[in-house]
């Protein structure tokens, strides 16, 4: 295992599970590019936010072995 991906909300349905391990990729953009096309397109929508190891990030960022990358659609409240 090299990177751990986490899918929240409706992205979970699209990904088929709430999380998966993927081979290492050096950046967030590279991780997204390696996803299946429909999921890749969905996580690139402007309202999707990203977190690396539990911290929100803006734009592309570099990744390290073992990082957890979360894909966060708009929240829908309690």
């Amino acid at each position: 295992m090299a990177l751990e991906l986490v899918f929240l909300g409706r992205l979970e349905d699209l990904a088929g599970s709430s999380g998966r391990a993927v081979p290492f990729a050096p950046s967030l953009a590279a991780v997204i590019a390696a996803l299946e096309p429909d999921l890749s397109a969905a996580v690139k929508e402007p309202r999707i936010r990203y977190a690396v190891n539990g911290t929100l990030v803006q734009g592309d960022v570099e990744l390290r072995e073992g990082d957890e990358v979360a894909f966060l659609p708009p929240v829908s409240g309690g």
């Binding site: 909300g9 539990g54 929100l56 979360a70 659609p73 829908s76 309690g78």
Partner: protein, 148 residues
């Protein structure tokens, strides 16, 4: 100042939580609470809230800190469920205790508006046996604009 923020993956008893909270703020003249529960009727068979552990509780704690800073409170209680809930089950309880009634009302109102629109929860509902994810409501965004 008593402050409790809890993310609960199990059902909780709001009446008991309020009783304990009230007992801990004997110097407060007033306590305003908001209890949100899964509505019965309307065809929703179950509701699920998912959270993302690294973000959800820290953001709830940050919100509680903002509320405590903005109003003069004797106590603040925030309990939010995560997981699957049945109709009638509590989802969220917010309580604010203050010397002055207006502070308690405003603090609870503000906390709820921000919990609803900004908290890291994703909601889906089961209707006619099918789960569907809920999108954010425009009303929640409007509610938030009241505090700008």
């Amino acid at each position: 100042m008593s402050s409790t923020v809890r993310l609960s993956t199990d059902p909780f008893d709001p009446a008991e939580a309020l009783r304990q909270f009230a007992a801990g703020v004997p110097q407060a003249g007033g306590i305003v609470s908001f209890l949100g529960q899964v509505r019965e009727g309307g065809g929703v068979e179950a509701l699920e809230l998912r959270h993302y552990a690294p973000l959800t509780l820290p953001a709830m704690e940050a919100l509680a800190a903002r509320v405590r800073e903005r109003w003069s409170l004797d106590g603040l209680l925030v309990i939010h469920r995560s997981g699957t809930m049945q109709p009638g089950e509590p989802i969220v309880l917010v309580a604010a205790a203050a010397r002055h009634r207006r502070d308690a009302f405003a603090a609870a109102d503000f906390a709820m508006d921000h919990l609803k629109s900004e908290s890291w929860f994703w909601k889906r509902e089961k209707v006619a046996g099918e789960w569907r994810w809920i999108e954010p409501r425009p009303q929640d965004i409007e509610d938030l604009a009241r505090w700008a």
